[in-house]
């Protein structure tokens, strides 16, 4: 890759927080570092991964609204977690979490358990309890 060819395809995926170091050759054939704001093919791959995540989140959101799943299911998906990972973060066993995904069981959860989930999801307990109010909030990721 030549220095002049280092891509600057900024699609906002770096959140303006950094530019990446790339290695490229200058006019005299020596390697130098050049900062890049992104590259279309890798942007496409990253967007694809998030589209996949967001699709699942939307599906679970619908099921929560239909009363088929509890808010725990929604936030688990939104945080790209599975039962195993959520169990490791909350310290709640997988089989108990599986029960808490059912709206009926969830509605009877004590505050201590709710607080564990809320802490892991980094949201207030109230938001976990009152799921509908939360729907207009923008998603955390692109």
């Amino acid at each position: 890759m030549k220095k002049a060819e280092v891509p600057q395809d900024n699609e906002g995926l770096l959140d303006g927080k950094l530019r990446e170091v790339c290695y490229a050759v200058d006019e005299s054939g020596n390697y130098v570092t050049v900062l890049s704001t992104g590259w279309t093919p890798k942007n496409a791959a990253l967007k694809q991964a998030w589209a996949e995540v967001n699709e699942k989140v939307e599906e679970v959101k619908r099921k929560v609204l239909e009363g088929k799943l509890s808010p725990v299911a929604y936030y688990m998906e939104k945080n790209i977690m599975n039962l195993k990972l959520l169990s490791q973060y909350t310290g709640i066993s997988k089989w108990r979490i599986r029960r808490h995904l059912k709206p009926k069981v969830f509605s009877k959860l004590d505050n201590e358990t709710l607080a564990k989930y809320a802490k892991t999801f980094e949201i207030p307990v109230a938001l976990l309890k009152n799921f509908n109010e939360n729907l207009n909030q923008p998603d955390q990721h692109k």
Partner: protein, 341 residues
């Protein structure tokens, strides 16, 4: 007992790098007056690799990797330069923070393994549950820790809670508060022989592992599987599989083309140090291999976006990989013969 609120700032210089482990290693060595660039650290640490492991899953997709296991680069570079290091892992987060604090009290900048999901200063679209990120803690000021994260352009900070959280991220390969630092350096290390050792090791990894998933053979294996993806998996899944390969190839930290350009830079620098001009030629060939990897990424990007023309198929992408494998095999066969004179 350590005073938790006392400010400590170690005189530490932050240099941005492409890759976190290279950067941490290079910056820690520089702090001890061993001035090695990122490419030198990467090359001597034998950071170049390829593996395709369809049975290991990341986000439910098979893993291809362009680097050895986390920690290997630091381990190899320090061993080859006779640098003594200390590594520790913890079960108790408080103890791990106490150890970090006592290192700071003693003026030791300390490398930490962390997960990126909760890394607050990181770009949100890059925050997956990925647990092999490295950073250096070099001080504590106004209750926050001073962080030199090599992929960032400038130093950043994390609160105690935030730092503890990322050091004890959960999931695949949990970091368990792992920290590492340089204890002492050897004054008379032999850079030239370290370079030769590093290159030989890489050639061995890329040519001689007797399992078809690794090295040049691994690239061919991936290519041949890739040709069958659309039929076997259907369009959507095949495209996700391809996307994962591109993400691993170009994700933050590879410096472009799965580290191939960093390695070419290393060969160029080594040509001077060893006074062996033929390495410049091999460096150029490695640049060409890197460019070929990028051609592959370009085609793949269009397939992922569903904007591929007739010529841009899985078959075409896989054929580029087969070409890459041939180019790289030639390179490693040449490099394998390296010696000090």
């Amino acid at each position: 007992m350590i005073e938790k609120n006392k400010d400590i700032v170690i005189d530490f210089k932050h240099y941005q790098a492409a890759h976190c482990e290279n950067g941490v290693s290079s910056n820690l060595l520089k702090h001890h007056n061993i001035n090695l660039s990122e490419p030198m650290v990467f090359g001597i640490g034998s950071g170049l690799f390829f593996s395709y492991m369809p049975f290991i899953r990341l986000n439910n997709l098979p893993v291809s990797s362009f680097r050895p296991l986390p920690g290997m680069i630091f381990k190899r570079i320090t061993r080859r330069l006779g640098v003594k290091i200390v590594r520790a892992k913890f079960t108790d987060p408080q103890k791990s923070m106490e150890r970090l604090d006592s290192n700071l009290e003693n003026g030791i900048p300390t490398g930490c393994l962390v997960g990126v999901y909760h890394l607050t200063y990181f770009p949100a679209p890059y925050r997956f549950h990925f647990n092999a990120h490295n950073l250096i803690v070099y001080g504590r000021e106004n209750g926050s820790y001073l962080i030199s994260d090599p992929v960032m352009e400038t130093p950043v900070t994390l609160t105690r809670e935030e730092l503890m959280k990322v050091r004890f991220a959960k999931g695949t390969y949990p970091p368990k508060g792992r920290l590492y630092y340089i204890e002492s350096i050897s004054e008379n290390h032999d850079l030239k022989s370290a370079i030769v050792q590093g290159i030989r090791h890489t050639c061995k990894d890329m040519l001689e592992i007797p399992i078809p998933l690794f090295g040049v053979k691994g690239i061919r294996y991936l290519a041949n599987r890739m040709k069958r993806w659309p039929k076997k998996l259907g369009d959507k899944k095949a495209s996700l599989y391809l996307g994962q390969v591109v993400r691993m190839l170009e994700e933050i930290g590879t410096g472009g083309a799965g580290f191939r350009f960093i390695y070419a830079a290393f060969l160029q620098e080594s040509a001077k140090i060893l006074n062996q001009d033929w390495l410049n030629e091999v460096s150029k060939e490695m640049t060409q291999a890197g460019d070929k990897w990028r051609e592959f990424a370009t085609i793949s990007g269009r397939i992922i976006k569903d904007r591929a023309g007739k010529e841009e198929s899985y078959e075409a992408a896989a054929n580029l990989l087969l070409k890459v494998a041939d180019m790289e095999e030639k390179i490693y066969r040449k490099l394998k013969k390296i010696s000090l004179d």
